[in-house]
Symmetry: C2
Subunit: 457 residues, 2 copies
């Protein structure tokens, strides 16, 4: 294996100069192919020159890069293995992974704005950040648990008041933090303290808020979590491959290395990947069923009536084929495939902006990485910037276009029994019976008999 | 009328040196009463000295203050008149007032962080702020309208898709702004642009987010809007009165002029005021009914079954009275009075921190007022800082402890007919009948007859 080849592979895995190499990866790396292009990125060219000259010039730097590459590869494999283990072990484990990711990301983002020398004289700034994280997580996790496990919470005497007053309790927790923040304002530190406050809110909104949607995706079914995650990674890889292979035409100013060819190619391959991958996952109820049992894992499986988007439907061509062309005019396609098209488009078009945003932040604070949480990879936030925004989009899309409106016999019975008096329940029985008589589902005699019996009391 | 007297009155109406005079108004103004107190506020003492010496020393400054006082009084009366006119004219008018207040406040808050010289070279910073305001308002107003006017929206063909996809549409509007923000990042301006971005989000969260709750309060019934507003104003006035009359013991460090006496006195009088005021409002359905008709005003009135909190209940003393004491041991009290106690406590204890927060911001940016939207009063934000946080608390409290869980016979019938198949509806009739038989509300014969009839089909 030649050295430049190794170098390319190294960049491909995510790049050491994180902000530049990783996300702006629709790159026209092969600058020599493109001599007419004005050299907007002297740094990158210098890097390439260095990379090709690395052996004679600087053996030890090459050794260092190689060591880093090995660390990085090992940790990538470890993370992938761990991720799959958790995903198959059960929804609760993958939720724990997302929770850990969000806490580490929050820590990293908070740290870059917290100038320690100043913070030392203010005793509570750091604790307050963690307090806000705790109370906001209490709020969003509570919301999810209440929404998905109502049937368990509402029959538990201890948990019931926590559930019915959840928003008030959460808001009070926030208000306590707010009051404490105002009380801790110290003359001469106002600007620093208010900046911290605003920064914490931004981090809560962008990290914890969006992780909340990712967790809701998991509750709705593993596919709604894993498909967007896999699409973002796929898009990243194909943008890089198409970029170095065909990249010619610059796409946007902000990122001079992005090309139309890389962008369109990645989009195309993300759709192809999404169709195939969703097709495979659709066959396993463990992936498509919402979590009605937190003890489920890949071996026990899950049971549910699948969402109709997974069931193939007949579609006909809107116009007849010309004479002589002997092809089928009807197709059997699961509606999911159309949704995959939309999700792949979001993963290709919008999600990268999460990465650009993170890059901009890093440049603002003149840092290379958000942290060193993952050996060889930099910070957690560096790996997750595009995942958060993609998770939110997937959640909103799912809720708006895919989720089935959840009226069930059980839900209606529950609402009637818990919320109505016996007289009102009788009213429901009578009105619904009359409706069924009108619809000619049951004979009108039933209604007469009911009325007679109920009057006699 | 003597000059010092005028000066006191002038301060009472809200003070010109806004941040200091208005909200920190539990003041120990009468410093001479308190010679042992360490003089933590030399500025204030100097002011007082100036005020008593104002006539011989500086005639024109006194004239200026007097003119400002007249302007201020006139505008106070104009605003009060306008407020009452809108409140009686109908809910839609008072919602328009709140909307105007939030837009003006947003403008003021955005303006103080926007250094114009820098912004001029960046074309879209200002437009982007307004875009975010617009899309966030679209989101929150849409949420309210959908929640309270579902029955109108769901039967309208044009509005239905806007309602069912509301969150997705709003989120996409936000994402468009986000993508545009990232695209508009310019080298050398990163710090300024990210600060603007964070600042806009804070303003949206603290102003538009909280105004959303205030508007929901209006929809729930005029009393839930007007009572908190009036309580904050009452508390403000009484804190000032009790502070200058009894003020001795300093309360907290952040605001050396706050005293325990002023705080406790204001709390007491706010409770008294709240009990009387809510008692009066409870008698008018225009105030206690939720808005089921947007065309209603004080003359047409509103109709509804009042919330049970407004209906007096019998309460008994938990312990018997000692022998010989001949007093009634049962009382008839509307539960609302207990809720008034809680709300008054929030208005006295928590709401002032909204004002402290705003003061801190003003000191950070070294400005006297947020703007000059109201002649003689300073900015809109200066008047509203405590109202926003009180409105949110009132909303959360109302939702958690007062709102009646809205299960109705009509709602259940609607859910069953629109969401279930005929078979499932039959299932509901049977299960509910069986429940009523189990509860011995109807004879078991009914169930047997129903089963027989339904099987025969």
């Amino acid at each position: 294996m030649t050295k430049p080849g190794k170098d390319v592979k190294f960049r491909h895995r995510g790049s050491a100069s994180s902000a530049k190499g990783r996300r702006l990866s629709t790159s026209m790396s092969d600058v020599s192919e493109n001599p007419s292009e004005p050299s907007r990125s002297p740094t990158r060219i210098e890097e390439l020159v260095k990379a090709t000259e690395v052996e004679p010039a600087n053996q030890s730097e090459y050794e260092k890069k190689k060591a880093n590459f090995v660390t990085r590869t090992i940790w990538t494999l470890v993370m992938i293995a761990f991720f799959f283990f958790c995903m198959f072990a059960g929804h609760i484990y993958i939720i724990m992974v997302v929770t850990a990711v969000q806490i580490i990301s929050f820590k990293e983002v908070i740290a870059i704005a917290n100038v320690p020398s100043k913070a030392r004289s203010l005793r509570f700034t750091k604790s307050l950040n963690w307090y806000f994280l705790g109370s906001f997580m209490y709020f969003v996790y509570g919301e999810s648990v209440i929404y998905y496990f109502k049937h368990i919470l509402l029959v538990d005497r201890v948990l019931l008041p926590l559930a019915t007053h959840h928003r008030f309790i959460s808001f009070m927790l926030y208000i306590i933090g707010f009051v404490f923040f105002v009380s801790s304002l110290q003359k001469g530190h106002y600007k620093f303290q208010f900046t911290q406050f605003a920064w914490t809110h931004m981090a809560l909104f962008l990290i914890v808020g969006q992780a909340h949607f990712v967790i809701n995706n998991i509750f709705e079914g593993m596919i709604w979590f894993f498909l967007p995650v896999a699409m973002v990674i796929t898009n990243d890889i194909w943008a890089y491959i198409c970029g170095i292979t065909f990249g010619r035409t610059p796409l946007i100013k902000i990122s001079p290395k992005k090309t139309w060819e890389g962008f369109l190619g990645a989009w195309f391959f993300t759709i192809i990947f999404g169709i195939g991958f969703s097709n495979i996952m659709s066959r396993y109820k463990y992936f498509i069923c919402p979590v009605n049992d937190l003890g489920a894992n890949i071996w026990t499986g899950l049971e549910c009536k699948p969402n109709p988007v997974f069931i193939p439907k007949q579609y006909s061509l809107p116009v007849p084929l010309p004479d002589g062309v002997n092809l089928p005019t009807t197709f059997s396609i699961a509606p999911m495939q159309f949704h995959v098209f939309a999700l792949a488009t979001f993963a290709s078009l919008i999600a990268p902006f999460g990465g650009f945003f993170a890059s901009g932040l890093k440049r603002t604070f003149k840092i290379k990485d958000f942290g060193d949480s993952i050996p060889g990879h930099g910070g957690m936030t560096d790996r997750m910037d595009c995942q958060f925004i993609m998770g939110s989009i997937a959640f909103m899309y799912y809720q708006s276009f895919i989720a089935v409106y959840k009226t069930s016999v059980g839900g209606i019975i529950e609402a009637a029994i818990t919320g109505l008096t016996a007289e009102e329940q009788m009213e429901v029985v009578k009105i619904l019976s009359r409706h069924l008589v009108n619809q000619e589902v049951i004979p009108s005699k039933v209604l007469e008999y009911l009325d007679g019996q109920l009057k006699r009391r």
